[in-house]
């Protein structure tokens, strides 16, 4: 029988303090039993002499200084892992909540995981076809990449994530090795429901493990949810050789939970009150994506975050983008003009695409086409800002050309249906059709040969 510690010394927000404790390890778990028999889970976050500070996952409501008995578990927080967890629903700390009983574990693992040795990684090179033109052509998703979606409240980021899951051939019968791990952190019940329904409709639900922490669930649980999800993802990818897509929504809620927890610990805040270690903490999540040598599996992450006030320089999107390999950014203006997915092409980027596209991967002309589109679309912005000053009529002929190109590009290339799944050939041919709206001399990122082979103003006629 392990030692029971009766009572607490103090309670402060989600933290409780105990004195007279011996032989407890840092980050060890504890079970707090209340007088009425209900149990809560906690974790050691600080130790000084015989004083231990615990964070309580379920919150501290109802705890008093004398109505508790605490038992330490002797090990860090571990969750049971099994392949059969696919198709199940768990709460934020990995307890089943779908009424199907406990998981029969194949092993237990520490949810904090360990840092991947850079030597053991393989550089990700296989591209994931999403069927969405803007992503496939301009910000290609690579297996093993972490590519976040930066969005704002009210934009269609959830819809886009669902479309990616569906079209990335996860529901495919051949996709036996594919699975999705979904972590919801502080999202509304409606959003979690939307994802569940969409997974069901696409037939993918049997290959999805869901970890749900709703917006009214305790914040400490929220800081553990992505770690539980990623621990399962790593297990399935690196020990069971599966390709795992991890969707985490909403990172903003996660970071806010972290801030709340940090301030109740009395830590010195960094920018906007977020703890100074926000970067390291986010990195400990995002860096768990990748491909390793000696395993054919992969962990690909699509974290979703809503930028507070649509501000991309806010610490959460800012630090995220410094860690992740690019970003997919939503544009509210485009979204409001009915373009779906309304992505801001110039702000979006995929850092890994340069090595995963082109000859042998997609199509030889892909790198040049995407460079040219980026550069042309940047000129569209220049032309538009000039037009807003001097009026469209006064623009030079080339600038007018760019104005037309910009509109056609947004309406035909960016814009596509929720059910529309474009092949990479369709996407690149469409890109060429659009580029043919411009004079050949403007295609400065292309070699003469490519222009000769593909350039034909007639291709652009359908956009006139």
């Amino acid at each position: 029988m392990a030692v029971q510690y009766a009572g607490l010394t103090s309670v402060n927000g989600p933290l409780v303090c105990l004195e007279g404790v011996n032989g407890v390890g840092y980050e060890e778990t504890a079970t707090i039993t209340l007088d009425d028999g209900t149990q809560r889970m906690g974790r050691v976050v600080q130790m000084e002499g015989d004083k231990v500070i615990l964070q309580v996952f379920e919150g501290t409501n109802g705890l008093s200084l004398k109505n508790t008995k605490t038992v330490f578990g002797g090990r860090p927080l571990e969750i049971p892992l099994a392949t059969e967890m696919l198709g199940r629903v768990f709460n934020g700390v990995g307890k089943p909540i779908d009424g199907l009983g406990p998981v029969f574990p194949e092993k237990y693992a520490d949810i904090n995981g360990r840092a991947l040795n850079p030597v053991a990684r393989s550089y990700p090179r296989n591209y994931i076809h999403t069927g969405i033109s803007s992503i496939d052509c301009l910000m290609t998703l690579i297996r093993g990449q972490k590519l976040p979606i930066f969005s704002g409240s009210g934009l269609s980021h959830n819809k886009l994530a669902v479309q990616i899951v569906r079209q990335a051939k996860i529901a495919d019968s051949r996709g036996k090795d594919f699975a999705v791990v979904f972590a919801a952190m502080g999202v509304q019940n409606d959003v979690a429901d939307y994802f569940r329904r969409s997974f069901e409709e696409s037939g993918a639900i049997g290959r999805v493990a869901m970890f749900l922490n709703m917006s009214n669930d305790p914040i400490i649980e929220r800081t553990l949810t992505p770690r539980c999800a990623l621990t399962l993802a790593e297990y399935l990818a690196f020990e069971k050789n599966m390709h795992i897509l991890v969707i985490m929504t909403d990172i903003t809620s996660y970071a806010e939970a972290l801030r709340e927890f940090s301030s109740s610990k009395g830590e010195i805040p960094g920018r906007k009150g977020y703890p100074g270690y926000l970067y390291s903490d986010l990195a400990s999540l995002y860096e768990r994506a990748g491909v390793i040598e000696g395993s054919s599996g992969s962990v690909t992450q699509i974290p979703i975050l809503t930028m507070p006030n649509d501000d991309i320089t806010h610490p959460i999107p800012d630090l995220t983008a410094y860690i992740t390999e690019g970003q997919i950014v939503f544009d509210r203006n485009l979204d409001q003009t009915g373009v779906y997915p309304g992505l801001s092409v110039l702000l979006s980027l995929s850092r890994l695409m340069k090595d995963g596209i082109g000859e042998g991967y997609t199509r030889p002309d892909h790198p040049d086409v995407s460079n040219q589109l980026f550069s042309a679309y940047a000129k569209v912005q220049d032309a538009r800002s000039l037009a807003s000053v001097i009026g469209e009529d006064e623009l030079s002929a080339t600038d007018k050309c760019y104005m037309k190109f910009g509109n056609a590009f947004e309406q035909n290339f960016l814009n596509q249906g929720f059910e529309e799944n474009r092949s990479i050939d369709e996407t690149l041919n469409l890109a060429w059709d659009l580029l043919c709206m411009l004079p050949a001399s403007e295609l400065d990122r292309m070699s003469e040969q490519l222009i000769k082979d593909n350039y034909d103003p007639k291709r652009a006629e359908k956009f006139q």
């Binding site: 980050e27 002499g49 995981g113 840092a115 920018r271 040598e293 610490p315 690019g326």
Partner: protein, 585 residues
């Protein structure tokens, strides 16, 4: 016995002890985690632990070592990949698998590998600090020179091993030092505390450029060997890409690449790419001249703080042998954040944005370790530091960027709007500067051409003029400008797209020798002058544009291979023809 009293993340405290000294290396707990003393007072000794502290218990022992955090220096460093405290990640992988584990006491240098050693001194010789006593080939490119440690001022050789095969731990030399009874054995390796700069005889002025093959750097914003540069830029502006390009192509002998709190995949990319890429000068893979220090963002934060010092200590060691070293530190902001995190755990009074008040002094200590020196053995070596800075919110007024700016002499500011237009390298020529241009002027004049610097000035002036004209163009459009100003805008476009923009993925354009850079400038400026003269004589600007000569110059970087510079004559002739023809009509 000293035991742990308190644990808070990577910071632990030991109570009531006088056994520890500042900056001493210690072992913490039963797993013998590596730590360093960062504070000593009457109540507590404060230790930062370089590894994950999960599972550590109050009451576990803390062991003193009596020496500060040291780097092991000897043959076998080059081509290796280390974590922030010089543990070889390759060996760690074979011991603990794909994930990094704690307490793995792995020697920094392979103790089994034998090197082909030539001993350079004989019994009875008097040796002094820094003198080379043995040499061995370390990689096909680098000859390793073992030097008498700087602490030995003067000694006599009592024993010298014969030439032959030795491991790093074999004794090859014994010295009798004046005033000491015991002989001092020397192996192929030695230790040096990472936070102390290694001594050199004399600092020398920076007069030679670090040639990078990147036009905007070599020509517009040059850096000297032994200089310091910062590359600040928001996410996605190409900091890492620029550093990779420099690491691949710059003419340093050795590259120390410090991945400090950055992405794991990027380090993997460096590992894979540098193994495949062949250095054109030597015909050997780039890994033969590269050391990697990888402390990715999810590895322990205290080791991230140490990684910068480990990297520069390795660089200084090779500098002392007479090599030219370039350090790529990606990113110094993550290092500053590690300082902030540790400082926060110590509950120190924060200065700006939570960063500790000693941030500027730490930054200056780091950058001041760069320099071109005469070493203790009278050879010349240099350490060039190129540090990436990741400003929060792409705001250059934040503390790390601002303080870095005070200690570096090259500032290559990366620009978001250039990056969005996929203009790479996205170094903004208006906000960046280099203080080395003057110092290097005589090198360029003597070794490349006396025209180089005047042409460079002309290019810069045209870019400034274009910038001023663009203000007007933004308001009223380009059509209303007079022809000579239209020419400036057009020629500046040629400079921007044809010269400053450089394609890292193109076989010729990825590295451009100084000579071709000169000829490119020359032909662009020639067109500017001749077209300008023609316009004065009444030739219409639009007629010159119609000939397509501007677009032709833009494509020079692709159309003229680096080794066929004689093709420039054809272009010059074509300009003469075109302008001459227009002038006649």
């Amino acid at each position: 016995m000293n035991t742990i009293y308190a644990i808070n993340g990577p910071v632990i405290k030991v109570r009531d002890t006088k056994d520890f000294s500042m900056r001493e290396m210690v072992y913490v707990g039963e797993k013998k985690l590596i730590g360093e003393v960062i504070g000593v007072n009457d109540l507590f000794t404060i230790i930062q632990v370089y590894e994950n502290t999960d599972g550590l218990k109050v009451g576990e022992s803390v062991y003193t070592t009596g020496s500060p955090m040291c780097a092991t220096l000897g043959p076998g460093i080059i081509s290796n990949i280390y974590d922030g405290i010089e543990r070889p990640l390759g060996d760690m992988k074979s011991i603990s698998g794909a994930f990094v584990s704690e307490g793995s006491a792995i020697p920094s240098l392979n103790g089994e590998k034998k090197f082909d050693v030539t001993v350079a001194v004989k019994v009875g010789d008097t040796v002094t600090a820094g003198q080379i006593y043995a040499v061995c080939p370390e990689t096909p490119l680098i000859v390793h020179k073992c030097m008498i440690p700087p602490s030995v001022k003067k000694a006599t050789v009592a024993y010298a091993a014969p030439n032959g095969q030795y491991t790093v731990n074999d004794t090859v030399l014994r010295l009798s030092v004046e005033g000491e009874d015991a002989e001092l054995p020397l192996t192929l390796c030695q230790k040096w505390p990472i936070r102390d700069p290694r001594p050199a005889k004399q600092r020398m002025p920076v007069t030679k450029p670090l040639i990078t093959g990147q036009r905007i750097i070599d020509t517009v914003l040059p850096i000297g060997k032994g200089g310091t540069a910062a590359i600040p830029g928001g996410f996605g502006t190409g900091k890492t890409m620029t550093q990779h390009q420099l690491a691949k192509w710059c003419d340093a002998d050795i590259i120390v690449y410090i991945g400090c709190g950055e992405r794991g995949n990027e380090m993997t990319q460096v590992l894979e790419e540098f193994g495949e890429l062949i250095d054109p000068k030597s015909g050997r893979p780039l890994t033969d001249r590269t050391v990697l220090i990888a402390n990715t963002s999810n590895m322990p934060v205290a080791a991230r703080e140490a990684s910068i010092y480990t990297g520069i200590t390795l660089a200084e060691y090779y500098r002392d042998m007479g090599y030219h070293i370039a350090i790529m530190a990606d990113s110094t902001s993550r290092w500053a954040e590690a300082l902030r995190e540790i400082s926060g755990r110590l509950e120190e009074m924060p200065a700006e944005e939570g960063f500790p008040a000693y941030l500027p002094s730490r930054l200056s200590e780091f950058y001041e370790r760069a320099g071109y020196v005469k070493t203790l053995n009278d050879s010349e070596g240099s350490v060039t530091i190129i540090g990436a800075v990741s400003p929060q919110g792409s705001d250059f007024s934040e503390p790390v960027t601002q303080n870095t700016k005070r200690f570096v002499r090259c500032f290559w500011a990366l620009d978001k709007s250039l990056a969005y237009a996929r203009h790479y390298p996205a170094i903004n020529w208006m906000t960046s500067y280099s203080e080395y241009a003057e110092d290097l002027e005589s090198y360029y004049s003597e070794n490349v051409s006396p025209e180089y610097m005047p042409l460079r000035q002309e290019i810069s002036t045209l870019l400034v003029e274009e910038n001023n004209l663009m203000e007007i163009v933004k308001l009223i459009g380009a059509d209303v400008l007079p022809d000579d100003q239209k020419l400036i805008i057009e020629i500046a476009r040629v400079i921007r797209v044809g010269f400053l923009q450089q394609n890292a993925f193109h076989k010729d354009d990825t590295f451009v020798p100084l000579n071709k850079q000169l000829l490119m400038m020359k032909v662009i400026i020639k067109l500017y002058h001749e077209a300008g003269d023609a316009i004065k004589k009444g030739v219409l600007f639009s007629d010159i544009v119609k000939t397509g000569i501007f677009d032709k110059l833009i494509k020079i970087k692709y159309d003229i291979p680096n080794d066929k510079t004689e093709m420039f004559d054809d272009y010059e002739k074509e300009i003469d023809d075109i302008i001459g023809k227009l002038g006649r009509i």
